[in-house]
């Protein structure tokens, strides 16, 4: 059997992290191809249902990328995203599901290197963690 390759679903905000990911590409940063990017206008637009649906349907990890605090294009979307992610993590932790599969990260449009490093590290971490048990629950 081939080695386990994690799959990451990423929700990236248009103004910072998505542009940062673009920069990672144009500056030829290398990062693992384990990530599938979904482009949103703001991290504040990420509902917990997106994250959970990804995890139940087969993602091993979810990355939510937004602007640094104070830099949100819509003023406060990232702060609200942070609360929402904290609530979801709190619920999942109490359900005995490791919150480490969900990563909220502030990456600006100029931080292409940081984006590449984040994806590399997250892929490594998930590889160690192994497949997401949630996707195998027959009655989920």
């Amino acid at each position: 059997m081939s080695e386990f390759e994690p799959r990451i679903v990423a929700f990236l905000c248009h103004w910072c992290t998505y542009t940062g990911a673009d920069l990672a590409g144009t500056t030829r940063q290398q990062y693992p191809p384990n990530i599938r990017v979904i482009h949103l206008m703001c991290s504040g637009a990420v509902d917990s249902i997106y994250v959970l649906k990804a995890l139940i349907d087969g993602a091993d990890g979810v990355l939510i990328g937004g602007c640094h605090p104070g830099d949100c294009h819509y003023q406060t979307g990232n702060y609200k995203a942070r609360r929402r992610v904290a609530i979801l993590k709190g619920i999942l932790t109490q359900m005995g599901f490791t919150e480490d599969r969900i990563l909220l990260k502030w990456i600006s449009a100029s931080e292409g290197k940081l984006f590449a490093d984040t994806v590399t590290k997250m892929t490594d971490d998930l590889r160690k963690m192994g497949p997401n048990p949630m996707k195998q629950l027959w009655n989920a």
Binding site: L52, K80, R82, R83, L88, K89, G96, Q136, L137, W138
Partner: protein, 382 residues
Amino acid sequence: MGKQTVLKVSEGKTEEAIRDFLKSLLKGGVIEALLVPKRLPSGDGFAQTLIHDPEKMDGACALSLTMPVQSARVASHLSVKNLNKRIAAVLKPCEIRAVVELTKFLQVKLDHLLLIGVDCPGTFEVADYSKMIQEGKEGGKLEGEILKGMERGEAVSPEGYGFRPACQMCEYPTPTADIHIKLFGYKTEEEVGLEIGEKLEKEMEEKGLVSYAGDGPSSRREVVGKVVAAREKKRDEAYQEFRGVVKDLQSFLDRFSTCIRCHNCMVACPICYCKECVFRTAIFEHEGDQFLRWADRKGGIRMPTDTLIFHLIRMAHMVTSCIGCGLCDSACPSRLPVATLFRSVGDKIQKMFGYVPGRDVNEVPPVATFKEDELKIESGAL
């Protein structure tokens, strides 16, 4: 703090005395109409009723022992659009706390809605209450016994029956309201307490409906404390038991394996107010191929699907505002401990934000606000 007074009860007819007081609000023109639980003609249950004519108050019972609907929902329907005359609603503490949450979400308008809160000994399941009445507790006998118990803070249910589990673990037996009808600690055959909030204290006195006097029995504080302590104990036991059973997602799914995804818990919930709920949209109408792909990956899938996501997302969306009325429990045809789930998980999440749902209309729900410097979750752990 509002102003205190007592309501004298003659011949031990507590229910009538409260009813006469409510009637005086209608007659005195304090309110145009009153929402109050009314005993059903069959005598074995209650229904919230909007009464306009003071002569139609027969059967109105402020201390109704069932909660067929969360009246915060009714208050929402009544007040949210075009309510231009002042009305009052007689509510239980949990209903008032739900009203407070819905007010924050702009689903209730308190401009013309007065809240009349009644001390709550707990409520029974509708079916249980009906059975008790049929077994010979008619004519307010059951209410009488429970009222007697409330003086000492020991409201006991008849043998073989129990208060709803959510009520047994509810640490808010007393409401915050514009008019507060106090029962705990009072010798209710002789008098019940009244506290009139700021909004009404002048008007009520000017109209000659009340005169303020006395602080009520000194034992009240102690009695309420005793009730709260007993319920907190029960609550913590319930949390512990539940957390013992639900350790991981698999054990959660095992415990909730009889969930038929009827959405009754969602419909009964006062906090779930969205007009268009995501679980009622086409997002969850999957294509046949999709089911087959899932079945292929997992070897087989349980039908109907999406049980886990339903409960987890409902929690993620409203657990910060869960006031613990337990109507989700009562609505569940599979008798699943939905309320215990929400309360036990919600407890920790609410504490994370120092938020107590239903405490104060002026507080902002955690999901609608933020602090710049909080929740260092960006780099990993909470």
